[in-house]
Amino acid sequence: MIDSESHAADAADDSVLLALRDVVKVYDSGEVPFTALRDVNLHVHSGEFVGLIGKSGSGKTTLINMITGIDRPTSGTVEVAGTPVHALNENQLAIWRGRTIGVVFQFFQLLPTLTVIENVMLPMDFCNVYDPLERPERAMHLIEQVEMADQAHKLPAALSGGQQQRVAIARALANDPPIIAADEPTGNLDSKTADAVFHLFEKLVDEHKTIVMVTHDNDMAARVRRALHVADGEIVEERVHRPRTVRADTFVDGPAR
């Protein structure tokens, strides 16, 4: 097991955006308790593109759920952007999550009865971010960024998987969160579409977003800056890749808040 960066270094480094300390997660649902995470320590700096890599059942989804506050640690602490996530109640978590983290799921999870633009506006609506009159314009801008403008008024059922995932990414960006957490965002897509989606993430990193992405795809894992290999509930290996060349067609964020 390795600690991804030491506590001392973490304390001294103001750019640490996300810190998990001694996180343990045990599930009691079966006949024998199952330990999904064992004493995980993880620190992510602002602007990093981190990949959590591992086989099915290794604990990578549980780990990202700790970061998003979707699940709670059995013990240990989770601090994101200075907020002790593990100490928040469900309601506080919802508000915090809406403003701080954009979540992207493997199966897109768009609400089937809302159109593309309505799905993107939904987080703004819940968190009351941006003036109500501004929201459609911002949502449209984000949809344009993911190249879905011509589908803005369609329902999710009319879109392909790749298109739905683009919309899900636009939705994750709705409240301009500093962190994007994506759980197997390309796992349900063909390789060409997966590449396009990954490209979107790269552009977001260029825009100083911090991305934590779960994947079991080795090709994708090779393209992230920092790849953390998860096995049996532990981070067993860390690889840091050299920074990419900044591309000319930099992804531009929507209108400022």
Partner: protein, 801 residues
């Protein structure tokens, strides 16, 4: 601008049209049944009071030998009397058409005809024109009470040949129909009521003077003892003082109608079933909302994952439920009012009164709206809170609010042990018990509906058993003679008549209880009979029956005791029969028998005090054969014989006709009960359909897997229909068990409301009938969901969220 989350609410409603329809229908049927049942009750009670009050029912009615206008004037001027009116009541027989003069009147219909002086200026016991060509009727015309139309096909313009008790005939034209709420509906007594002018009465050589005086007290809140005192004073100071003989004075309970007991029972029944409908619809709503929430759990998780707070999401779903409620009120309220209109019209028809306003009482509409809006909201709060407070990780992975897991618990283990069942049947059985919370709610609704339906059928069977039980008369035909006739001679004629096996004569006179304080009690019929008569077999409740050697012994029925406690066993009472006062000893009490207040006395003693000289005015016969036709033929034959022998008959009744008369009164209850049963069964059907549909929706992924494995349309149908049938069967078993105490309670309530001990008769027919019905319903309720299931494509099913 509508924000996306509210758009989601509206979009969810419109995009899941079938689910919306089902939820709305579930709530609406509850509102509907409440409006129909409680609204119907409210309207009937209000309108009955209005119509009855407007008729100015008499405080007291005196039956006199003969009185003229001067007597009526004097009565109406008496202190405490607001109005008085004299009429002449004559029993007439009639037939439609113009038969030859020598055709005997046997088999003709009977009518109680009132000769009225002033149709426009009626001051007491008012009747109103309903459908008339002339008002008041001209000389030679008759108005029939509207309920006559239920026993005969009478039309305006029909010519009736009418015969008076003295045998005088005249032809009268039907000038129309009137409504008299104070008249016994023809349906109940197999006798019509008619109204003619005094001039028409003269056509029958009847004296144009009055034989009844109805008076109305000034004080609207007069009590019965005060009314009796007033009537006694009027009798002594005015009527008797003018030489008029008063045969009987009737003082009913002020404001009470003769159908009051039946009405009270109907009202109670409606109230009890209204409460049941309320409970049932509440359960239905809880089931539906819970199912709805379990379907939405994943979406709740997504919304929370993108920043939705529990309170925001809770309001979204409560708003959705509120919209369901508003739609359900919009459907249930007007349809309930329309059906309630039909229901009350029908009910009013049975009770023979007209409805002037069909508007349900405000409280019923408010209750209906509250059930539609508040009950779903209240029902939704717990499931919505459970759903919205569920941790996101569970919501995103759960299949429902209560994660369905099979294999835990005793029932699951027992089902798991069942071997040798075809795989689809085993699957259906296990699916049934998969979501135990939902199953419990659905079962509760269906068990309650089943218990009520089976209870209602038991009450019906008890009522019918009571009709048999209360029928104290053992005759095949009875004859009311127009006057007291020589007994041996009349019985001789009877013995010679074809088809008659045995015959017996009795004396039947109206009598009045003379109370110690000089007032008169309720009128009773005293029947003088041989103590060992085979024609009367009453159920003895207290004391003993008449014995040979009894003189002034009297056996009274329970109906007398209800009105006059002075007739208690062992007491001595003074009765006035034909103005002759005599003391009697009450030696026994028999059941009411739906005969009204009746007392039995030894015929010998009665003959002696009335100096009847062996006379009789009522003849009972048994016939050689007892079926309806034999009874009818023998009765007509004897009636003709009596006519030929110069023994005029006022009315004839066969045993089957008499039984029908009693049954028709209790039949009102049976009819109302049947309507209620259908309504509650409907709630059950919609509940089961809803559950089955939601089960199908939740099983979409499983259906896809089964289809991928090669399940045919038929196999999918079988699985869901079997599941519905299993639920229905369980509801039937539990409902049948529950229907026993429920029907005992319902029968008891009705018995006490009607003052008629109902003979409890558990309806095994009802249990069997409901088994067939509920299984049929289950198949029907599962068909549509099963059809939807069979249409699921593998691709859609696997992609189903």
């Amino acid at each position: 601008m509508i924000t996306p989350r509210w758009r989601k609410v509206f979009r969810d409603l419109s995009s899941h049209r079938f689910r919306t329809l089902l939820v709305v229908l579930s709530i609406a049927v509850g509102i509907f049944s409440i409006i129909v049942v409680l609204g119907g009750r409210g309207i009937l009670m209000r309108e009955f009071e209005t119509v009855f009050g407007d008729s100015r029912p008499p405080t007291a009615t005196m039956h006199v030998d003969i009185a003229d206008d001067s007597v009526i004037d004097a009565v109406s001027r008496y202190p405490g009397v607001e109005a008085a009116e004299g009429r002449r009541s004559v029993p007439l027989r009639f037939t439609v058409g113009t038969p030859e003069a020598d055709v005997p009147s046997s088999g003709w219909s009977t009518a109680q005809v009132w000769a009225v002086c002033d149709f426009e200026g009626q001051s007491v016991r008012r009747f109103t024109p309903e459908d008339v060509v002339s008002w008041p009727p001209k000389t030679g015309e008759i108005l029939l009470e509207q309920s006559a139309r239920t026993v005969g096909d009478y039309r305006i313009g029909d010519v009736l040949t009418v015969e008076s008790p003295s045998g005088k005939r005249a032809r009268l034209r039907v000038a129309g129909f009137a409504h008299d709420i104070n008249a016994f509906p023809a349906t109940f007594v197999a006798m019509s009521t008619g109204f003619i002018s005094m001039e028409t009465l003269a056509m029958f050589d009847e004296p144009c003077e009055y034989n009844t005086i109805a008076l109305l007290a000034e004080d609207p809140s007069i009590t019965r003892p005060q009314a009796s005192r007033l009537a006694a004073n009027v009798r002594d100071d005015v009527v008797a003082a003018r030489g008029v003989r008063v045969m009987q004075t009737n003082v009913p309970e002020p404001g009470s109608h003769f159908l009051g007991d039946i009405f009270k029972a109907v009202s109670l029944l409606l109230l009890a079933l209204g409460v049941m409908a309320l409970l049932l619809s509440g359960f239905l709503v809880v089931t539906t909302v819970q199912a709805l929430m379990s379907q939405q759990v994943k979406q709740v998780g997504i919304m929370k994952a993108v920043g939705g707070r529990a309170s925001q999401i809770t309001w979204m779903y409560l708003a959705m439920v509120l919209i369901y409620g508003v739609l359900a009120v919009a459907v249930g309220l007007p349809s309930g009012i329309v059906a309630g209109r039909w229901f009350t019209e029908y009910g009013a028809g049975l009770l023979n009164f007209r409805i002037t306003s069909y508007a349900p009482p405000v409280y019923v509409s408010l209750l209906g709206a509250a059930v539609g809006l508040a009950v779903p909201l209240a029902a939704a709060i717990i499931p919505v809170r459970l759903g919205t407070r569920m941790p996101v990780v569970r919501a995103l992975t759960a299949t429902g609010i209560t994660a369905a897991r099979f294999g835990h618990g005793l029932v699951d283990r027992v089902l798991g042990l069942l071997r040798g069942l075809p795989r689809p049947v085993a699957l259906s059985l296990r699916n049934t018990f998969l979501r135990k919370g939902r199953l419990a709610l659905t079962l509760t609704t269906l068990v309650m509906a089943s218990a009520v339906v089976m209870s209602v059928l038991t009450v019906r069977s008890s009522i019918l058993a009571t009709v048999d039980e209360v029928d104290v008369w053992q005759f095949d035909a009875q004859f009311y003679l127009a006057r007291t006739e020589n007994g041996p001679r009349a019985l001789r004629e009877a013995a010679r008549s074809r088809g008659v096996a045995t015959a017996e004569g009795m004396l039947d006179y109206p009598a009045t209880l003379k109370r110690q304080d000089g007032t008169e009690g309720e009128g009773v019929s005293v029947i003088g009979l041989p103590p060992d008569t085979p024609f009367v077999a009453p159920q003895l409740e207290q004391g003993r029956w008449l014995e040979a050697g009894d003189t002034s012994a009297l056996v009274v029925n329970a109906d007398i005791l209800k009105e006059e406690p002075e007739f208690a066993l062992g007491s001595t009472v003074t009765l006035s029969i034909l103005g002759i006062e005599e003391d009697w000893q009450v030696v026994g009490v028999v059941s009411g028998g739906m005969m009204g207040p009746v007392a039995f006395a030894p015929i010998g003693h009665m003959d002696a005090i009335l100096q009847a000289g062996g006379g009789i005015n009522r003849v009972f016969v048994t016939t050689e054969h007892h079926h309806a036709t034999a009874q009818e033929q023998a009765a007509r034959e004897l009636e003709r014989r009596f006519e030929d022998a110069g023994i005029p008959v006022a009315a004839t009744q066969t045993q089957i006709e008499q039984r029908d008369t009693i049954a028709s009164q209790l039949g009102i209850l049976v009819t109302f009960l049947a309507i209620m049963a259908v309504l509650l069964a409907l709630v059950g059907v919609i509940g089961l359909t809803g559950t089955m549909t939601i089960n199908v929706m939740e099983s979409t992924r499983e259906i896809g897997v089964m289809r991928a494995l090669g399940a045919s349309h038929g196999a999918i149908y079988n699985i869901f229909i079997t599941e519905g049938v299993v639920i229905a069967f369980m509801a039937w078993v539990l409902g049948a068990v529950l229907s026993w105490p429920a029907s005992v309670a319902l029968t008891g309530m009705l018995s006490s409301a009607m003052n008629l001990p109902l003979q409890y008769d558990f309806s095994w027919f009802g249990v069997g009938f409901w088994l067939v019905a509920v299984l049929f319903i289950a198949v029907l309720a599962s068909l549509l969901p099963a059809f939807r299931a069979s249409q699921v494509s593998v691709r859609d099913a696997i992609a189903y969220e």
